[in-house]
């Protein structure tokens, strides 16, 4: 029988926090929707069309952009979106 071997944990030994999703809005009338452009080519083409559709459904739209698509959105930008918007759509395009 093989002797048991104890190894040290190579991970961060952290457990991701569990957070539930916010309730989904039942409609868009009167809601503010943030559109976050990650700053890749032609993302604006996609978001322009989305903006038209959202406004057509009664939503207010606020546009945002990451400084660069290669890095996470800065904390200030995330905070601003969370403060001013009921929902957000992040778009990737090429």
């Amino acid at each position: 029988m093989t002797e048991p071997v104890t190894v040290l944990d190579p991970t961060a030994e952290a457990t991701p926090g569990q957070r539930s999703l916010n309730p989904r809005p039942v409609g868009l009338e009167g809601l503010t929707v943030g559109l976050l452009d990650i700053n890749k080519p032609r993302g604006d083409v996609f978001l322009d069309r989305l903006e038209e559709r959202l406004i057509g459904q009664g939503a207010l739209v606020r546009r945002y952009a990451k400084p660069t698509f290669t890095k996470p959105a800065p904390a200030d930008l995330r905070h601003e979106i969370a403060t001013h918007c009921h929902a957000v759509i992040e778009a990737l395009a090429d």
Binding site: V5, T6, V7, L8, D9, P10, T11, A12, A14, P67, T68, T70, K71, P72
Partner: protein, 330 residues
Amino acid sequence: MEALYDRGWTDGLPLVLPTEPRVLRMLEGTSRAADEVVALVPPNLVECTVEKVAVNSVMAGCRPEYLPVVLAALEAVCTDEFNMHGILATTMGVGPVFVVNGPITAEIGMNSGVNVLGHGNRANATIGRAVQLVVRNVGGGAPGGVDRATHGSMSKLGFCFAEDEVGSPWTTLAEDRGFSRSQDVVTAFCGEGPRIVVDQKSRSADSLVRMLAEGLLASVSPRTVMGMDGLLVVSPEHMARFSDAGWDRQRFMEELGRHLVVEADGILAGTGGIEEGLPPDLAGLTLPKFRPGGLLVVHAGGPAGLFSAIIGGWLNGPMGSEPTSREITR
């Protein structure tokens, strides 16, 4: 071993079991305290201690004397300018490529010669791997999770080599980046796998520099200009052409730069029936292939072979990744 695979701790290759005696032995390779925080490791920005690096270095197969290099390499990639998070997340197949300079390369037996970019040397093979294991296990950056590469690259497994300083008539990469010859330095470059530039007929420096420029003009894509950096690995036999002509590093870079220019009209979007390309407002311009400082050059490789190697980069500068150097602390 299977238990390690089951927990998702490997990069696909077998690991050395990180038992306590092995980790303690690994920690003897550095003067730094085991509980010292080395870096915030992306993508989860987790505080990583020297001990955690040691655990992953054991698993990668490192010897204790490699640990200082692993620690400095990890510090280099866990910076905003190197942007390891973006390098993980990008669909492009790039990863950190580490070039090591200084006396430590000989002391720990790193390879700068035959098969330098390939396999066969323990230090070269395990230092880069250890860094990647830390990013995976501590930072949480695993393929299929935050790592979204379309094809990936062997540079994601671990890509590390030493510059051949003894055989070079030039200043080293580290010296070019502001360090002294006596300092131990690791430079991280975000790159893909290497490809070879063949030139077996040039006997003059002028001919060879033109050929290397032609190869570099196609780095990443013939239609990328100034947006992505490059790393050129000049072989000893190619270097001989330049040393015979009395070219130092500065002269080489000047001559190379003269040929590393692109006529925008030939690569505008839509030219040649190709929709990819430069915007029309750049028509009529002559542009450099690389931004200033965007081409790194090192000397390495076996003594025979009229080839050099190009390692293409990724989106460069503040919008992407900057080559990043760190001094190695013993």
